[in-house]
């Protein structure tokens, strides 16, 4: 029994992908709520660290604050007016589950930083969620990677409340916990302030890779 379990751990990943493919052909790509409960399917598991999925504030604005030359207050329409970037990339959770080929759309974080203008002494970013609890961090260099975006669309539509809408972060080269949901504020700060899970032992530099530490190679 234990042997079977161990075999499942080592070989379970391809089996899980096989099940995902089978489910895909069954449900013809539609997002069925029940299919998400089948072990091994390519479906998002929806995480929240507060009591439920927070409702967006009535007049949503993304604040860009801290060590910037021009603090910004951006509506979803403001973001949509900026140069769009579309990515089709996986969402990889650090605990193992993975959703391949997710469609993302938004603005490069680098573009937002450029329009705000990073002031002297700005070294890192602190992200806040309007759930009031969750935070994340990136260095400026990480934030300027081309596949790090402030997303306002995913999975072919506006970002749903469960997925962190109206606006969330998507950090393609890093584990899912970096892709903060319900984004409300980006602060330019003088050093890295570890985020919610990072204060609970997760790696601050969350490159998707073999060992999940500073020297891991980003894959995408």
């Amino acid at each position: 029994m234990l042997g079977l379990g161990a075999a499942g751990v080592v070989a379970g990943s391809p089996v899980a992908h096989g099940i995902a493919d089978a489910l895909d052909s069954l449900s013809a790509g539609t997002e069925s709520g029940l299919a998400g409960l089948v072990p091994g399917g390519d479906y998002f598991q929806l995480y929240t660290v507060t009591n439920g999925f927070p409702a967006p504030p009535p007049n949503y604005r993304l604040q860009v604050t801290g060590l910037v030359r021009r603090p910004l207050s951006l509506s979803v329409a403001d973001l949509e007016a900026m140069a769009p970037t579309a990515l089709v990339k996986p969402f990889q959770c650090v605990t193992g589950w993975r959703v391949p080929n997710v469609h993302w759309e938004g603005v490069r974080l680098a573009d937002i930083l450029d329009s705000a203008g990073v002031a002297e002494g700005g070294k890192a970013l602190l992200f806040r969620s309007f759930d009031g609890v969750y935070t994340e961090s990136l260095t400026l260099a990480q934030a300027r990677l081309p596949d790090v975006i402030v997303a306002y669309r995913m999975l072919g539509g506006p970002i749903s409340r469960a997925h962190g809408g109206p606006v969330r972060l998507y950090v393609a080269p890093m584990y899912g916990y970096k892709s903060l949901k319900w984004l409300s504020e980006i602060s330019v700060v003088e050093r890295v302030y570890p985020g919610y899970w990072e204060q609970r032992g997760y790696a601050v530099n969350a490159w998707v890779g073999r060992s999940n530490d500073d020297v891991g190679t980003p894959i995408s």
Binding site: M1, G8, V9, T95, G96
Partner: protein
């Protein structure tokens, strides 16, 4: 020496060779206090694991409950504690009855094999000599222990994921989710069997079964008890 498989009331272990009073005479101790405590502590932990596991996994419940860090902590702690009641119960001199039952559960007679093949075909099997536990109960015990080991292993990989390659984490998640479904179904079947067999069900609450129950469901065990009681009687009193 006193008979540990003693006759008598639910809690007394006094060696009473044959029923001397109507009130207690019919009662055979099936599970002692340690075994019942181990069963219910394990059941409470299992229930905690199912509830918290669902709150981490089923989207509407995730939305309702949230508080992921707290729920993960309760789930992991309950999971690590799951084998503790059983281990504590077999560890000392108080675990004699449980150890004897584990040996029984681990031993398969030819009648057990026949019982299982007849049960699978839904054929009558009252002519077979079944001991304290039938083949279904033996399978359930072995399967439950195996599941406990697998869930502990895969859950540990999910909790302390940094030490394992990403594909192992995916495999562990897959196995953990799949086995959770299978085991919840197995426990549902266990509860169904208990509810439809009140004589057996009472023994996990009160500890005893009736002599009539033993004659019907555990003939070989009853003979074993009677033999032990006769030997006990033949010995000089101390």
């Amino acid at each position: 020496m006193r008979s540990t498989l003693g006759w008598g009331g639910a809690t007394t272990t006094s060696a009473r060779p044959f029923p001397s009073s109507r009130e207690h005479g019919d009662r055979l101790v099936r599970f002692d206090g340690v075994e019942r405590a181990a069963h219910w502590a394990t059941a409470a932990l299992f229930l905690t694991l199912v509830v918290t596991g669902a709150a981490l996994y089923v989207p509407p419940l995730v939305a309702l409950v949230g508080r992921r860090a707290l729920i993960v902590r309760v789930h992991v702690d309950a999971g690590l504690a799951l084998p503790v009641p059983l281990l504590l119960s077999v560890a000392g001199p108080w675990g004699k009855a449980l150890r004897a039952d584990l040996r029984r559960l681990n031993r398969w007679s030819n009648d057990d094999r026949r019982w299982l093949s007849l049960a699978l075909r839904r054929l009558p099997r009252s002519h077979l000599r079944v001991g304290k536990f039938n083949a279904g109960q033996k399978l359930n015990a072995a399967f439950s222990l195996g599941v406990m080991g697998v869930m502990l292993m895969t859950g540990s990989i999910m909790r302390w994921f940094y030490f394992w390659p990403l594909s192992w984490r995916s495999g562990a998640t897959f196995v953990h989710d799949l086995v959770a479904y299978i085991f919840v179904a197995a426990v549902a079947a266990h509860i169904y069997m208990a509810l439809t067999h009140p004589g057996a069900l009472r023994s996990i609450f009160a500890g005893w079964v009736s002599r009539a129950w033993a004659e019907r469901h555990a003939k070989a065990w009853l003979e074993e008890l009677e033999t032990a009681a006769r030997q006990d009687e033949a010995r000089p009193a101390r």
